[in-house]
Amino acid sequence: MFKLSPKLSQKIFYTLLAISTAIVIVPVLLIVFIIIKNGWSAISWEFLTTMPTDGMRAGGILPAILGTLSIVACAICITLPVGVCAAIYLNEYAKDNMLTRIIKLAIVNLAGVPSVVYGLFGLGIFVMLLGFGVSIIAGALTLSIMELPVIITTARGALNSVPYAFREASWSLGVSKWQTIRRVVLPNALPGIMTGAILSISRISGETAPILFTAAAFYVPHLPQSMFDQVMALPYHLYIISTQIPNMPKNIIFGTALVLLMMVLSMSLFAIIARLYFRKKRKW
């Protein structure tokens, strides 16, 4: 065995670590670059605000944008209150017993279930058993169940970050547990909960498998009218136009991907900025 000089080994490992870090960034930059380069020419006001025409080979993607927005809005309206309530219960009220531990384990496992399984679950329960049909509401319910563990975990983290001493101080003044949560714990945990929620929105906007069987349609000639309508959705639309339609103009495919990417990235960016803002404003 030969021995490297300390200086040389330092250099080698420094380089290795730096390269690994660079490898992490390269794909992100490449994806953004390729999509912008190929899709920029398709982006126009018409593209964002009109219906697709000519078998989707021309025109805009308005129904897909609206479809995704309505599914995601519905989903977050369901998952956020339920998730936050569950997090409050688990964090502030639940005693550390067998049942609580099983629930926590279930939440961890729920987070690991592949998204296509959620899609099939939604098809079985919401679309068929409850008879919602392929619709916004069925897709939103499926997505909200998928996102529940993430919301619960981030909300619990936010609740945990509020010092226990604040709770004790409040209880010692004769304020009940619930009032303490409402007046002291929740207001201070809210920034963390909200950033978690925004990241969840951005994550579920891009999900395809869960809405594949529950909400998304190949083509709908009109805009969504009610919760029980089938809709077009951006991720699924992207899949269709890239694989199912011959002679599809390339810039429309990449343009659609660009719109989806921008929706997701801008929400993540918003969450990061909000987090920085609240961290600066935090008073303890």
Binding site: K95, D96, A165, F166, E168, A169, S170, W171, S172, L173, G174, V175, S176, Q179, R183, V184, N188, R282, K283, W284
Partner: protein, 249 residues
Amino acid sequence: MVEKIRVENLNCYYKDKQALKNLNITVEKNEILSIIGPSNSGKTSFLRTLNRMNDMNVDFSRDGEIYLDEENIFEMNPEKLRTRVGMLFAMPIPLPMSIYDNIAYAPRVLGLKNKKNMDEVVEQSLRDASLWDEVKDRLHTSAIKMSGGQQQRLCIARILAIEPEVILFDEPCSGLDPISTAKVEEAMLKLKQKYTIVLVTNNVKQASRVGTRTAFFLMGELVEIDKTSTLFVSPRNKKTEDYITGRFG
């Protein structure tokens, strides 16, 4: 003297560990009862049992009874009890809101006062805690930015705003400098007129300065309780003497 609190055969446990052993003690109205003793002697456990803050601890259990004005506290609503028996912690814990809101917080939530009276309540509480002159011009700034001594007096004012009958002080000056300590002690002596005070302290001198009576706890047992002047001049028990003269603990 009128009896305010009576403790009968109190035993406290954290899981299997016994923190208080067969405690019998009374607190008289408008006195400052100082409790001294080395760490792990059950002083804080006793205090946290008096307003049932230990209820929040799942490992805690007890037997024996405590009476507040002849009313069993374990049969009372714990929230109601805590508005009658306030508590000040070792570390000052201002809530992350303004000075004004810190004091108005509990009266608002409990619905004790209407809005017009709130200004008066805040001013009176701050005056009684000897803090008014220092903060009257910045009531709406954050309480977190105050000094440690001011924060602790704010916490006293916060308790006064709910007008309790008994105030429990849990080593209230352990993190404070001598001048801040003197101010807190001054506030305490003033409060004695209106309130009954139980003071747990690691500072033997503090007990001798402010205590009407002093109790010495050791290993979860009450060793001796007497008038402060008597206990410090002629303690009956050898262990008490060793502790207050600093030969022990």
